[in-house]
Symmetry: C2
Subunit: 402 residues, 2 copies
Amino acid sequence: MGLVVQKFGGSSVGDIDKIKNVAYRVIEESNQGHQVVVVVSAMGDLTDELIALARQTGPNQSEREMDMLLTTGEQQSAALLAMTLNNMGCAAVSLTGWQGGVATEQVHSKARITDIKPDRIEKELTQNKIVIIAGFQGLSPNGEITTLGRGGSDTTAVALSAVLKADICDIYTDVEGVYTADPRLVPDAKKLEFVSYDEMLELASLGAGVLQPRAVEFAMQHNVRIQVRSSFKMEPGTLVVEGGKMESNRIVTGVAHDLNVAKLALFDVPDQPGIASTIFQALAEASINVDMIVQADMRDGRNDIAFTVCKDDLHLALPVVERVAKDIGASGTSCGQDLAKISIVGAGMTSNPGVAATMFAILADENINIHMISTSEIKVSCVIDAPLINAAINAIHKRFNL
Amino acid sequence: MGLVVQKFGGSSVGDIDKIKNVAYRVIEESNQGHQVVVVVSAMGDLTDELIALARQTGPNQSEREMDMLLTTGEQQSAALLAMTLNNMGCAAVSLTGWQGGVATEQVHSKARITDIKPDRIEKELTQNKIVIIAGFQGLSPNGEITTLGRGGSDTTAVALSAVLKADICDIYTDVEGVYTADPRLVPDAKKLEFVSYDEMLELASLGAGVLQPRAVEFAMQHNVRIQVRSSFKMEPGTLVVEGGKMESNRIVTGVAHDLNVAKLALFDVPDQPGIASTIFQALAEASINVDMIVQADMRDGRNDIAFTVCKDDLHLALPVVERVAKDIGASGTSCGQDLAKISIVGAGMTSNPGVAATMFAILADENINIHMISTSEIKVSCVIDAPLINAAINAIHKRFNL
């Protein structure tokens, strides 16, 4: 007999019919003789509706009060799933984050889990109950209700899996697994049987979006086996596991893309220590998330620095960049919209030096101009014109035999 | 500087505009230099909506899971009111029942408060914050979230008032106070300046419905000054206080009525110990609430027993009564619908023996037949035909000079 942690996101528990579907998945696992711990998110759009209500109260919402408000969503889903299971003849009990022993830092809206005391969960499991935990939430040392940030239910599920030594952490979602590319853009994209934690991290942060990066990091650190699978289909999904367990001959695992990209540049920035810090500190103070950062070759002791932000943040970033450019004596600035980022990810890249060059060649063959390049050990990202993204993904997907 | 506890029901926090109205009432009290603790119910129809969702999960809902589900409603209102106050420049913090230290029995859906540990509330008050408590809920010794039953927010407010030694517990509602009769039926019904706890208890249980009877009992035991007042108007409401503080020359305080009445009778019941117990035990086992019970004069060692139930319960009560009638050898049964109960309430009745007779005379003058009579120390109730209730109330209201 094993122990399985199942996590169901908001779209999987959007109404009572969907919650009944979830209950069948839970019972199926239980009927195989496993102990089952279920982590649920808030129903469908409830979190967004609560945020809209909160905004009606005035311009400011304290993060503490937002946490008080939003955590009710997961508590509702958990109770409704427990009732549904009970009505199907299956003993089940719902627990809030604090009842489940989820302890976090004294931080609101994006707390980290510091510990999980599983006493209550284990007590309920030994009484042969399905245990349902409200995801996304915990309790701070000061007795405050905290949240783990958007998608935090993934982190709850993975952390519980680590503490309870679960055999597997099944993340149920509305896609069937992790694909070699977005199946909506690439008709012959394939579902991957395995990805490594590193690959999943790059894919997640690059917009493949099926799993929270923090949850993947946690899983990697605590060696939790994750499976990404469909709430609505029975087939196995994609296993996220240690790199060593993977097929070693796979160089590129998948192609990810992100259409929400804007580019900013500062020209002729003085080549002095602290200049980059000045620029990006100013952006951080304005709460602007910077993604890729590229510094071009030095000419006469001066540099160009370019970086990307979310499209939505461009109007916030632009005045900051213009102010900083003036302060530090840059010769000018530029910005570009209607851009996209395309990335190849693969743990095999480290030992295959020609991969980046192959990617650039494929894009050149398609007459696609590259605006920016950034690389990591297992990833190569290029910024290109947004209208060309479809051609780029399909060409790369085909030429790397994904 | 005093301490005021304010309680706002569901209709007072039905949407954000109403919550803003509540915030003004809170700030007004705070501006007078008082510390303010606010108890809120769930928004408008939210509790009913959650119950409807729960019913969709199947025929049965465990009380424990219902408590998990329903307590989210008050938590949401509390957080939204805190945000609203913050946006008006007023420091405020929302607390769940367990954060506010509200301890209850290990019972679900109708737990009693066993203790309130006000440490957290007092800490927040000393930091000059308005403290908002989610009403209707507490924490059991086993760490379970419990509820106090419908209208339990009144009890939360009164219990907090007792523990915090509040100067007053203001119960804000959609009526302006306690009236001498229902103002919708009696145009010249007057708002009472004072009622005694006893009178309020009788008025509450007789359908005047502005205050939960349990809350009034609690207030009486702990000598909490309650004021029933309007959420939407500024005038003072009705003070519920010790009998000794009342105007002593008032014999009848008010006329209450209840249109939700059905009558059942068993004829020729054997006059033996245990017979009444057999009848009402059977009804209790069927979860039927019995209101008035009247046993008629003995004839030849046999009695008639009549009682009233809610109209809605009549179809449940009838088969029980017929079965019991057969078992105990009663000669027959009868039932009556389309009935109403009219009651006069007044602490002065005990020392004025003619009050009941006057009431019967008034009804006789109006040609109103009385089907049942029941009296207590401070109340006389009569069951009459429902269509005559308006005439009865107005006649009694006028003749007692209310």
